[in-house]
């Protein structure tokens, strides 16, 4: 049987100190984001403009893709088209194999996670080195990322120290972040200098210029792309923006929203290969077009992958990135894939509090899309947690004030009379680590009347 989000979260949730630490680290990012947003006078106007601009892009995508690819080609960038993840992987492998390349340095790309590119290439004898520090840590550990911007946020520095001691020969017991980062820098510098191919993602693809922008703080994308004579960049087709003004707008919002910096350290704009070298660009659909044909699902592709919604999500902060089925966790992951999770439980890993939608820099209707997935799953009777059985009953009771009053009276009575172990069994997940509160003596309605409350018509 497929495992629900609640079951998946259990091992993370059991360590309360760690949950609190994880939650605080993410809230700190949210706080820094707020300070940056407040420091820009026109922030809300920028959000609205960015949203409209991305809606413009999505509603004119084929024409913009035509323009973009034609200009890339006139800039000497070789464009490839992939309808599926498999086509994407095959294109990348072909480019590398045709040129006999064996060692690829990679900067972070959610698309390559989506397509499972690295295992595909490694099966074909091509060594792939993740060069973003967080991704490198996870690659050495054999862990998947738990966040799209800070992928190793679930790990403590002591765990990373231990890993580096084993794999990079750092001192036993050393866990100072500066020391560990330095060790990774030295080890990866060798990889940069010996790699014969580089891969980057794309943050924005500028249609009017045939250019693409790659943003990093570490400088790893640039260290990769400018050394070997082969650079492969990969992008989901929604990364298009019409012009440089649009790219500037998103660059102004991306790092502010993601980690509360005014900019990433490096915003590198590629609009031609260096003389004597090649840039290949793979443009991928892989289900995007199908999702965009459903109006209530389509706006998720405004997303610029800043991760702000993940940082602010109360469920993500306290359940951890590995509790989700989809490789992108948190609100944006649920909004993309909530209709398609194994146990159909993902759309309920959300309190519908709305914090995500309120801070999204491009106004993706995140919780609204998650609620839409619930609606669809209910419509097809694919509800998790036994909801198919009891929700129709709950609905029947709640529809009638008399039945509701009777049910509440029975509940109060039952809670008073039942022994604790029975209540715990009836309480489901709620009573796993806490007791039910003592039941009130009377209903709220009775209390309200007794204290002189008057409702309409009485």
């Amino acid at each position: 049987m497929a495992i629900t989000h609640a079951k998946n979260a259990a091992s993370f949730v059991n360590n309360e100190a760690r949950v609190n630490w994880h939650s605080a680290a993410l809230l700190a990012l949210r706080d820094k984001r707020d300070l940056q947003a407040k420091s820009v006078d026109e922030w809300e106007r920028m959000r609205e403009a960015a949203s409209q601009m991305k809606l413009h892009v999505l509603s004119h995508l084929p024409a913009l893709l035509e323009e973009f690819s034609a200009r890339c080609e006139s800039n000497g960038i070789i464009v490839h088209w992939a309808r599926t993840a498999m086509e994407h992987n095959a294109i990348v492998a072909d480019i590398l194999q045709q040129r006999g390349r064996k060692k690829l340095v990679k900067s972070k790309s959610m698309l390559t996670e989506e397509c499972h590119l690295v295992p595909y290439l490694e099966e074909r004898g091509i060594e792939c080195i993740e060069t973003d520090l967080g991704e490198r840590i996870l690659q050495l550990r054999g862990d998947p990322p738990s966040h799209i911007v800070v992928p190793a946020i679930h790990l403590k520095k002591e765990e990373i120290g231990e890993l580096f001691h084993e794999r990079l020969g750092t001192e036993d017991g050393a866990s100072d972040p500066t020391y560990l980062t330095q060790a990774a820098r030295e080890s990866l510098r060798d990889d940069f200098l010996t790699a014969d191919a580089a891969m980057t993602g794309v943050n924005m693809a500028i249609a009017s210029e045939g250019a693409f922008v790659v943003c990093t703080n570490e400088g790893n994308a640039d260290m990769g792309a400018h050394l070997p004579d082969l650079h492969i960049a990969v992008m989901g087709m929604e990364k298009i923006v019409p012009d440089t003004a649009s790219a500037a707008l998103l660059m102004r919002m991306l790092a502010r929203s993601a980690v509360g910096q005014p900019s990433t350290s490096y915003n590198s704009i590629f609009a031609a290969p260096r003389p004597g070298t090649e840039i290949h660009l793979v443009i991928v659909d892989n289900g995007r077009s199908r999702r965009m044909s459903d109006r209530r699902h389509a706006e998720i592709y405004k997303c610029i992958r800043c991760g702000a919604c993940i940082n602010t999500c109360p469920v993500y902060r306290r359940s951890g990135g590995h509790s989700y089925d989809y490789f992108i966790p948190g609100p944006i992951g649920l909004a993309i894939s909530g209709d398609n999770s194994e146990a159909n439980s993902e759309a309920w890993a959300c309190t519908l509090c709305g914090s995500c939608s309120a801070i999204c820099p491009v106004k993706v209707p995140l919780y609204q899309t998650i609620a839409y997935h619930r609606e669809q799953l209910a419509h097809h009777k694919h509800l998790p947690y036994g909801k198919n059985t009891y929700m129709p009953l709950v609905g029947m009771v709640m529809k009638s004030p008399r039945r509701m009053a009777l049910a509440m009276w029975l509940a109060r009575l039952g809670m008073r009379l039942s022994p604790k172990p029975l209540l715990h069994r009836l309480g489901g997940g709620w009573t796993k680590s806490r007791d039910l509160p003592p039941p009130p003596r009377e209903s709220f309605e009775a209390w309200y009347r007794k204290h002189g409350g008057v409702s309409d018509g009485h």
């Binding site: 680290a25 999505l58 088209w81 972040p177 260290m223 260096r274």
Partner: protein
């Protein structure tokens, strides 16, 4: 593998009704740009160079050379130890301690500078060095990134980067560490002329 025609034929129509492009004219910065630039440069971990003339930058470069450093100077009038006409491969620059590069623009709101590929013998020059020194004319500092992009105009056929402070990471427990893969420091000399 799909051809371009197959790719386009495979696209379902997008359900979003056509939306017009919004205006992307945003206001200018509401403060003196140089003052904001200096503040933001410090905030992103950059260093304000001591000196506002080329002879002063040159003097600084010479002091680095006296200390035995490998210096790649790409700024006319500033001394270096590497003849750029001999640089044919990006890996040749792996031992560079200091790169001194000209910026064509500065951006106040994020303390970044625009490095244009046409000013470099290799694009790697500003990433592979241990330390990056940049000269930027004070008069070419603009308020926002939107202003900067407007000023740059077309980037087609070119490469360039906005660099905002040194290379950094916070991937280990959110602790900020300067010097991840790129330069460990980024010093900007604002030139007065």
């Amino acid at each position: 593998m799909a051809t371009r025609a197959e790719f386009f034929a495979g696209l379902s129509p997008c359900a979003i009704e056509p939306v017009a492009m919004p205006s992307l004219d945003f206001s200018a910065l509401d403060a003196p740009v140089l003052q904001v630039f200096r503040q933001m440069l410090a905030a992103v971990g950059g260093i304000a160079g001591a000196g506002s003339t080329l002879p002063e930058v040159d003097q600084f470069a010479r002091s680095l050379l006296d200390g035995g450093s490998h210096v790649l100077s790409l700024v006319d009038g500033v001394t270096g130890s590497i003849d750029t006409s001999t640089v044919h491969s990006p890996r040749q620059l792996a031992h560079v301690d200091y790169t001194i590069a000209p910026a064509r623009l500065g951006v106040a709101e994020n303390g970044s500078v625009w490095i244009d590929g046409r000013d470099l013998p290799q694009r790697s020059a500003v990433f592979i060095c241990e330390h990056l020194l940049v000269t930027c004319h004070a008069a070419s500092v603009v308020g926002t990134l939107s202003d900067a992009m407007r000023q740059l105009g077309s980037v087609a056929g070119n490469w360039g980067a906005f660099i905002s402070g040194p290379s950094k990471t916070a991937d280990i427990e959110q602790s900020l560490v300067i010097g991840a893969h790129g330069a460990r420091s980024c010093t900007v000399f604002l030139l007065a002329d």
